[in-house]
């Protein structure tokens, strides 16, 4: 018994540096203690199956770290050694370039992949043909996403118009110019466009002109968007974990990753205000239906 305990202790001591080193090959940095960051991190850690040390902003990255998980734009824009793979999420207004991080980086996208998004929107609104996508030019990450939506839409029979705003102040004018030209609006997760004031303008436009408004979070559906179509924080965390494992394996990763599972919240009252009748099939397949 004594020998077994001794052998066990030796094995534990032998494995401890390896375990510690393994634990330090992935580290996490959170932009703040906001709930979306914490939830995504918790899901990622659970999917990895092991604790991940959380470092404060600005802390030195251990020499053993090969992957840095960053939550939020503030964490994503920190300077990390070029040897680490940076995987960042919940940073919708940011696209990390080589200028910020010389090593590989992967962004976990909040919004669904273009084809999946359009498919879900058509499931909610079968007659949807013309979709207007609103985004601000000052948000660096938006241009490529908008272009992908346009191209994917063209391939699938949608007319997607990319409505670039020089700044959020142009929103009312742009909406007025869209009257009669769009069957629905898609609001990407653009932090320079999504504010309480702008959302009120969009919501009223939607109700007054019978144009459904689709938003990138369930919370905005609760606030009056026709539906929220997005990846959940839990799903983004799982996607992040899969990317981290692939990075540790040395696999090549794309610059952007979308979660496979999409969460749909439908606001029936908002849909009624926008004169949209949602089929029972669409309601059944939604993850959440608000009265």
């Amino acid at each position: 018994m004594k020998i077994a305990r001794t052998l066990f202790a030796c094995a534990a001591l032998a494995l401890l540096p390896a375990a510690t080193a393994r634990a330090q090959d992935i580290v996490a940095v959170l932009g703040s203690d906001m709930r979306p960051y914490r939830e995504t991190f918790a899901s990622c850690q659970a999917a990895l199956g092991r604790p991940v040390p959380v470092l404060p902003l600005g802390a030195d990255i251990p020499g053993s770290a090969k992957v840095v998980l960053a939550f939020g734009a503030k964490a994503a824009l920190e300077r990390y050694p070029g040897r680490v793979t940076l995987i960042y999420a919940i940073a919708p207004g940011v696209l990390v370039s080589r200028r910020t991080h010389p090593g590989p980086s992967v962004k976990i996208m909040m919004e669904p992949e273009a084809g999946a998004l359009l498919g879900r929107l058509r499931g909610i609104q079968p007659g949807l043909k013309r979709l207007a996508v609103l985004w601000t030019r000052t948000s660096a990450a938006r241009a490529a996403s908008a272009e992908r939506l346009v191209q994917t839409g063209a391939a699938r029979g949608f007319a997607v118009s990319s409505e670039r705003l020089d700044d959020a102040g142009d929103l009312p004018d742009r909406l007025r110019s869209l009257k009669g030209k769009a069957d629905a609006l898609w609001l990407p997760p653009d932090p320079l466009l999504i504010s309480a004031g702008n959302f009120e303008i969009l919501k009223h436009y939607s109700y007054d002109n019978d144009v459904p408004l689709y938003a990138p979070t369930a919370g905005l559906a609760e606030q009056g968007a026709t539906a929220g179509v997005s990846a959940t924080y839990e799903e983004m965390g799982r996607t992040m974990a899969a990317a981290a494992k692939a990075a540790l394996n040395g696999d090549a990763l794309p610059a952007e990753l979308h979660s496979e599972k999409i969460h749909v919240s439908i606001n029936r009252a908002a849909a009624a205000e926008a004169r949209l009748t949602i089929s029972s099939e669409a309601l059944r397949s939604a993850d959440k239906v608000l009265p």
């Binding site: 932009g31 703040s32 906001m34 709930r35 979306p36 939020g72 734009a73 503030k74 824009l77 300077r79 919940i90 940073a91 919708p92 207004g93 940011v94 370039s97 080589r98 200028r99 910020t100 010389p102 000052t138 948000s139 670039r164 700044d167 102040g169 929103l171 009312p172 004018d173 742009r174 007025r176 110019s177 997760p189 932090p191 320079l192 999504i194 504010s195 309480a196 004031g197 959302f199 303008i201 979070t217 919370g219 905005l220 609760e222 606030q223």
Partner: protein
């Protein structure tokens, strides 16, 4: 228990707060990263003229773009030394407005001969302008001497990565022809290039009674702008160009012609240290030569100017603090035997500056700036300014500022030795190398209403100028009269500027602005200080997209009467109050958006009127043109 229930936010309110909290948090980072600043948050009176507004204005000259703006004053028809227009701000026009700093892509284009800008000879083309930023009010702490009353920054278009071909040709009365061409696109891999050229010809305005003038112009302007990324973090840009012109000059006693060459080259390098920190290094050289067929302020004159600047901009403390600091050098040498004899006046100016902005709370921002300028003319002089912006509710902001600027005088007041004719001598005074002081107080308000369709801006200002120079009689020894410049006068300029703009839809808007200015001075000299700016100015106008591809714009302006020095000096001239109407009507075929034909008219209400003395009369002008644009991005 009841207090806790009352104090706690309702579930609905908390849910609403949560829905936007993430984006609010992310926006802070993006905003700090981009260092964008909404105009409402700027603690000064700022006006922006966009490229679209320039296009629909129908203007054929840069100074006409500034004519209908609040707080700005434009006089046309001067032409004494080739400088046809005088642009000034806030009631201090003078003939040579040396307190309004004019920049092109950040490079000063003011003349140190007598102050002011040779607008007609600027090496910049209307169609190349991306926007014009007008900052009314002192900004000397950030921009340096010469910005005591305001700054006009002309920013040109940056070449995009896509191939583009543009052309714009117009012809009108008074023998006017203007032809513009530009080509843009990628070159040698990573470089984007834009080359543009304008040819302009005019027979000039009609003569005022009793004057002999030849107010014609023949000009070529060529510009090159190239840029590219040296690395992921470093960008390099080259600006170069020139204006070569031959112009008739207005003089009541003789007919003059002048030749003007104005060339420059500038290199700008920016390096991003981090997403919220960047260094910029700029160096430039400009060479302005002028010569005239007889004595004038522009005869056999050459100004060579070198500028260099290094600055660092950064945002820190979660974007709550914005800092800009830097240092600059300016060296100017001027040669003109008719103005300075054998002397070659020079200026060597070294400047260090620091501007700090603090976002105290979401609603309150403070900004301060200080600079030290050392020069061979005036030793070391400080400039400083402090401002605050309070936004009690979204879309509404109140601002207040205080500033002190020490302005170096131009060369003629200090070094001048002019003999305009055999019986007159005008002398400068070396004692005028001491700068004069401008102290300014300002309060303002900016607000948006009706879902930002309606924008309003109000500014109130009080500006005190100490030890300003004027021309005085010094002595008479038969037959020669000697006049001398002395810093004899103090002046106070007060006023109010109100602007309102309503946007009906995209490309369809209406505006109105009102400016009241009053200048009083100790010397009581109405000719040069107190009454040479209109007390009241009103401008109205708008632009509309009409059916079937038509569009129109209109600008209507009223100016009160004012006095101004007559061409050639000497007596005053009263310019009566007048209205001015400019119109433009255009047609763009719906199937070919890159093409447009248009007709434009300026000063349509009267066949001619005087704006400056009695040299030339500003005539009614009209032109028709066609423009094309192939390629480029949206």
């Amino acid at each position: 228990m009841i207090a806790l229930v009352l104090a706690a936010p309702s579930g609905a309110a908390r849910a609403a707060e949560d829905a936007f909290e993430l984006f609010r948090e992310e926006a802070k980072v993006v905003t700090a990263t981009r260092r964008s600043q909404a105009i409402a948050e700027v603690p000064l009176a700022v006006d922006v003229i966009t490229a679209d507004e320039i296009k629909v204005s129908g203007a054929s000259n840069i100074w006409d773009l500034l004519r209908f703006r609040a707080g700005m004053d434009v006089l046309d028809g001067r032409s004494l030394d080739g400088n046809r227009a005088v642009v000034s701000a806030r009631g201090i026009p003078r003939e040579f407005a040396s307190n309004l700093l004019v920049l092109v892509d950040g490079r000063s284009v003011s003349s140190l001969n007598q102050g002011g800008v040779y607008w007609a000879q600027l090496p910049v083309q209307l169609q190349d302008i991306e926007r014009i930023e007008i900052v009314r009010g002192p900004n000397a702490a950030l921009y340096g001497t010469g910005a005591g009353v305001g700054v006009v920054n002309i920013l040109t278009k940056k070449p995009g990565g896509q191939a583009l071909l543009e052309a714009d040709t117009r012809a009108g009365n008074l023998g006017s022809i203007q032809a513009f061409q530009a080509v843009e696109g990628p070159a040698l891999g990573k470089i984007s290039l834009r080359i543009s050229h304008t040819f302009q010809q005019e027979k000039g305005f009609p003569r005022a009674p009793g004057s002999r003038v030849d107010d014609s112009l023949r000009k070529n302007v060529l510009n090159l702008r190239a840029g590219g990324a040296l690395s992921e973090r470093t960008d390099l840009e080259l600006f170069a160009g020139g204006s070569w012109s031959s112009a008739g000059l207005a003089d009541s006693s003789k007919s003059l012609r002048g030749d003007f060459d104005n060339q420059f080259a500038m290199l700008k390098c920016s390096h991003a240290l981090a997403e919220d920190s960047a260094i910029e290094v700029t160096g430039s050289r400009s060479d302005f030569r002028s010569d005239t067929t007889a004595w004038s302020l522009a005869r056999d004159s050459r100004q060579i100017q070198h500028d260099a600047e290094v600055l660092h901009r950064l945002a820190w403390a979660d974007g709550r603090l914005n800092t800009t600091y830097g240092t600059s050098y300016r060296g100017v040498v001027l040669a003109s035997p008719d103005l300075y004899g054998s002397a070659r006046p020079r200026l060597e100016l070294y400047r260090g500056y620091l501007q700090q902005g603090v976002k105290v709370t979401e609603r309150l921002s403070l900004q301060g700036a200080v600079s030290l300028e050392g020069s061979n003319m005036a030793g070391v002089q400080p400039n400083y300014q402090a401002a605050a912006v309070l936004a009690p509710v979204p879309e509404q902001a109140f601002r207040t500022s205080y500033s002190v600027a020490h302005t170096l005088r131009d060369f003629i007041p200090v070094y001048g030795f002019l003999t305009p004719d055999a019986n007159t001598v005008v002398l400068g005074d070396p004692a005028l190398s001491v700068p004069y002081k401008i102290e300014s107080y300002e309060a303002g308000y900016r607000g948006s209403w009706l879902e930002r369709r309606l924008e309003t801006d109000l500014s109130l200002f009080y500006t005190k100028i100490d030890n300003y120079h004027q021309l005085f009689f010094d002595s008479f020894v038969f037959p020669v009269t000697t006049l001398k410049l002395r810093n004899y006068d103090d002046a106070i300029a007060r006023g109010a500027e109100l602007q309102v703009k309503y946007r009906f839809s995209r490309g369809c808007w209406a505006y109105g602005n009102y400016t009241h200015e009053r200048v009083s001075d100790r010397a009581g000299d109405r000719a040069l200080m107190t009454e040479n700016t209109p007390a009241h100015k009103v401008n109205l106008g708008g632009s509309a997209a009409l059916p079937r591809g038509f569009s129109s714009s209109v600008n209507l302006g009223y100016k009160d009467a004012y006095f101004i020095g007559a061409v050639g000096g000497g007596s005053l001239a009263l310019v009566p109050a007048y209205w001015r109407l400019d119109l433009r009507l255009a047609y763009a075929p719906p199937r070919f958006r890159g093409a447009e034909c248009y007709v434009a008219g300026q000063n349509l209400l009267k066949s001619e009127h005087a704006e400056f003395g009695n040299g030339v009369l500003v005539a009614r002008t009209y032109a028709a043109g066609v423009s094309f644009k192939f390629g480029g991005s949206e």
